[in-house]
Symmetry: C2
Subunit: 557 residues, 2 copies
């Protein structure tokens, strides 16, 4: 028997791109000894059209193992890597969190928003951290947000290189280039398994440096007579910094629009990551007094989100800022797949108000992906020279392409594990790896009503409504369960017409029929409801061939 075994359990981030949370379990003599968690992010569901805001990882499987969790390590400050912490931290037993400067600040701020106090330890890049029998060192890496890290996790079974979201940026606009020495040294000392970002695995070549975008900003500022409005992800501090630097060069006052943009720029400013001369800081109210060519707005809403700062501008809802001919709007981000309609709709609105809009379809070098292309990914493979590979942070398509790249480099297919969420890998001392039993995970949705309120049932309902509509039946009954007044029926997204209509009258009769007193027996409310639903479903299907969602509510007097 092996004395030590290591199990890798991805609770998210594997095929959904987002909701990154990875669990490493170290077993000694088949007994769980230590757990190390990397990242704890929210997910962006495909079901967003049904009103779900986001997903969080399902940590049910960790519930009876909390006491083994030694730490949570965070790789960078993007929501899909840190956003779930406020929801899950208590349930994880509040272990220590270690993160680099900006990441830590974002997390602490998140908890402050929820009126919680939390102190995140700042990464010491020189330090070898001991978490039970795990040893971890952080590696300086580059991505679209400063202070991004990778993590080298040393275990008695072998060394794991945990390499999520990255690109090899040799000229990052802020901070250091990747710490090639630490990476290559780890590879030289021996890496058992590389977990690597794979989102860029379809794109040839090397990803552009973030720095190229700075030149574009300058060019646009130079040739624009009106306001310059730049939009990007509010977490993209590097990009925002470059826009700010260009604005400073052309003496434009800088105003941040949108809650997330204001908050993130403030936090980044506090730690010196976004220096702006006092004389160029301005508020929305100041804008009316300024000539357009002295204004640079940095606005949230690059994905066309409803209600975002940029949407409000396009909808003429911002009392302080109007879009005028001569203004330039720079989209320094690509639409996330699925958001194209919203983004292009927004661009249409802006263009129709006379603005000059530049976006990546019509201009190069407005945006550089934060995720490494094929060559970045291959470099990391060569640097770390691992025995096994696990692509993370991409879809099945990206995993497949990553496998191809690894095979180009000479890896055999069986050394590459493309996992689904919850699928586990066992590593054993003999440098062997194999798939283990999967861990059960389910989707946990968060929306305005709170965590987990929105289960699969609610989602199914929303799907039904979206295609079939909904009918509400409202009943007022006495304590015997008998109707006191005629039922009220209301529908939305269904073919119901006026009250005098045939379908409405028929439905009314059905409901009244169900509630007809049966020889003095008290009708139980649940039975009433189920009866109404079943009978109405049958009726509507017979009459109209549709199956709207039937909702019954009753007041018992």
């Amino acid at each position: 028997m092996e004395k030590y075994k290591l199990r890798f359990v991805p609770l998210g981030g594997i095929v959904g791109v987002t909701k990154n949370m990875y669990v490493y379990e170290l077993y000694e003599n088949d007994k769980l000894k230590d757990i190390l968690i990397v990242d704890c992010g929210i997910g962006f569901p495909q079901e967003k059209e049904f009103g779900v805001d986001f997903l969080i990882p399902d940590i049910a499987y960790l519930q009876d193992k909390k006491d083994k969790i030694r730490a949570i390590l965070l790789t960078h400050g993007h929501e899909d890597h840190i956003g779930a912490l406020p929801y899950l931290y208590d349930s994880l037993g509040r272990p220590p969190i270690i993160a680099s400067k900006l990441t830590a600040l974002f997390v602490e701020n998140k908890f402050k928003d929820n009126n919680q106090r939390l102190s995140v330890a700042r990464v010491d890049f020189e330090k070898i951290y001991n978490f039970g029998d795990f040893k971890a060192t952080f590696v300086k890496m580059t991505h679209s947000i400063p202070d991004t890290t990778h993590i080298i996790i040393n275990t008695p079974v072998g060394t794991i290189y945990h390499g999520p979201d990255f690109k090899l940026d040799l000229t990052p606009p802020y901070g250091s280039p990747p710490d090639f020495y630490k990476i290559v040294k780890a590879g030289h000392d021996g890496i058992l398994c590389l977990l690597s970002d794979c989102l860029g695995s379809e794109r040839p070549g090397l990803t552009l440096s973030e720095s190229v975008v700075g030149q574009t900003f300058e060019d646009e500022m130079r040739k624009t007579k009106g306001k310059v409005i730049m939009t990007t992800f509010s977490s993209n501090i590097s990009r925002i910094r470059q826009c700010v630097e260009a604005a400073i060069k052309f003496n434009r006052k800088i105003v941040f629009l949108g809650r997330s943009m204001k908050q993130n720029s403030k936090l980044a400013g506090e730690i010196g990551y976004l220096p702006i001369p006092e004389s160029l800081m301005a508020n929305e109210d100041d804008l009316v007094k300024l000539p357009p060519n002295k204004i640079c707005l940095i606005a949230a809403g690059s994905q066309g989100q409803y209600g975002s700062a940029l949407s409000k501008l396009a909808d003429k809802q911002n009392p302080n800022v109007k879009i005028k001919p001569g203004d330039k709007i720079i989209f320094s981000s690509d639409p996330i797949p699925g958001n194209e309609n919203e983004v292009y709709g927004l661009i249409e609105d802006l263009v129709s108000q006379g603005a000059d809009v530049v976006y990546s379809d019509i201009a190069d070098q407005l945006h550089s992906s934060g995720h490494g292309n094929q060559e970045d990914l291959k470099f990391l493979m060569r640097f770390t020279n691992p025995k096994y590979l696990i692509p993370i942070g991409g879809t099945v398509r990206h995993q497949k392409q990553y496998e191809n790249l690894a095979q180009d480099l000479g890896y055999e297919k069986q050394k590459i594990f493309s996992l689904s969420e919850g699928e586990t890998i066992w590593f054993t001392k003999g440098n062997q790896a194999h798939k283990g039993e999967p861990v059960d995970t389910k989707n946990i949705y968060v929306d305005a009503y709170g965590v987990g309120d929105v289960g699969n049932v609610v989602l199914r309902d929303r799907k039904t409504i979206s295609s079939e509509g909904v009918v509400f039946a409202f009943l007022v009954v006495d304590n015997m369960g008998r109707l006191v007044t005629r039922p009220r029926l209301v529908s939305r997204g269904f073919v119901f017409e006026k009250e005098e209509g045939k379908l409405y009258q028929g439905a009314l009769k059905i409901v009244e029929n169900v509630l007809k007193p049966k020889s003095g027996k008290v009708l139980e409310m649940n039975i009433i409801k189920r009866g109404v639903i079943n009978n109405l479903e049958e009726y509507f299907y017979k009459e109209k061939g549709r199956r709207p969602l039937i909702v019954v509510d009753a007041v018992q007097l």
Copy 2:
């Protein structure tokens, strides 16, 4: 006073791209102690139209220092890095030569061709070599020829990373990828100066791997019904190997055409770098018996060189091979600047015979440069993290672009030394570097007649002839220097017409006039010649406004 000083002396390769030869001199208490030489290649002159075959480095300055030369290290097997050895090795005092396998074999073969015996030591990549107070280690690197190396030269003054011709090829078709660990480790330990290839400094992105070309070869072999004829540099063993591998897949017999191609493929085969099954090896004579779709020819002459194997094919001079419709000719190399006319002329000839010719203007991925693009160059800067930088192996234009790249990475301009041939750099213990007195070098030309025969005078003559023409005057005189017969005049490239023409007759008279006996004095031959030349020059210029080269020869009876 500094105890140790290091001087770097480029005897070539600095702005001429080719003719690479670099001298490192270590001084102890201002006394020259040890010399290390890296590479010793031929140059390709711009004056090639004047019949010069190539240039070799001018080592005059080393003549009184031979006894300090500890070794010659060779980085790879291209002519512009090894080709001058047969001409200079004796003059350098025959120091030990160290080179990797293929390079060593090429050099030994070169000497064998000249009937000399030489044994080149094979690189041991694990070894730290001691050459006086120099310590050198070789680094595995990638380029367009297998067994390419870089060299880390450790001196009492600091460490030099000598990084000529390279690209970072993560998937080389033969051999190992670059030894990132050794490079990055050296950078971590501290590099005083990086000498880097800069030829690709104008091209953005990362250079394509040699491997992409292999897929193209396969695709072309698959769809071609006729013969496949591939041409590239005969030293590009990796490329040749990929063509051979594709031919093997499609069961085409392989024939090498051209002396250099035959020789290099034979040498590479001897050390296992070019394995070809016995059943697929063929000779030119076998070709007539084979169906076209079972033939793959690999021909020298990709630069359109006159008399090369490919030119002979195009000129229907090869008795065994005829170009036919359906044949495919693959140019897997780009024209070297200056050779465009020859290459496109050759393509025309081939196309007009019905062949399908593919070359990089019309097809991607037929050729991948051996020299790193901007990103390759930046990676090497980041990896080695040097204090100073010296771009080598490019023109002034490339040096300038390399400076820009380094500045993008944060280097100050004064840390980058773009040198001319013979310009020297002094490195001192305080990690300082500054330009020193230049070393005098002159062009030494080699052509069919031998080394150095072709001096600047000859070249000037050739230039004159090419623009003005030449006139030969042939005299037969007696022992008194008197004409025995009428002089003979012959011209080429000049306006001379028939013998009865006015100009000819005039010139004849001029010559006869010079040789007219002056009161019995014996005419000295040199004086006769000078007189003829001066008088003819004057005459032709007066008559025609031209200054042809005048050549006078005489036979004294």
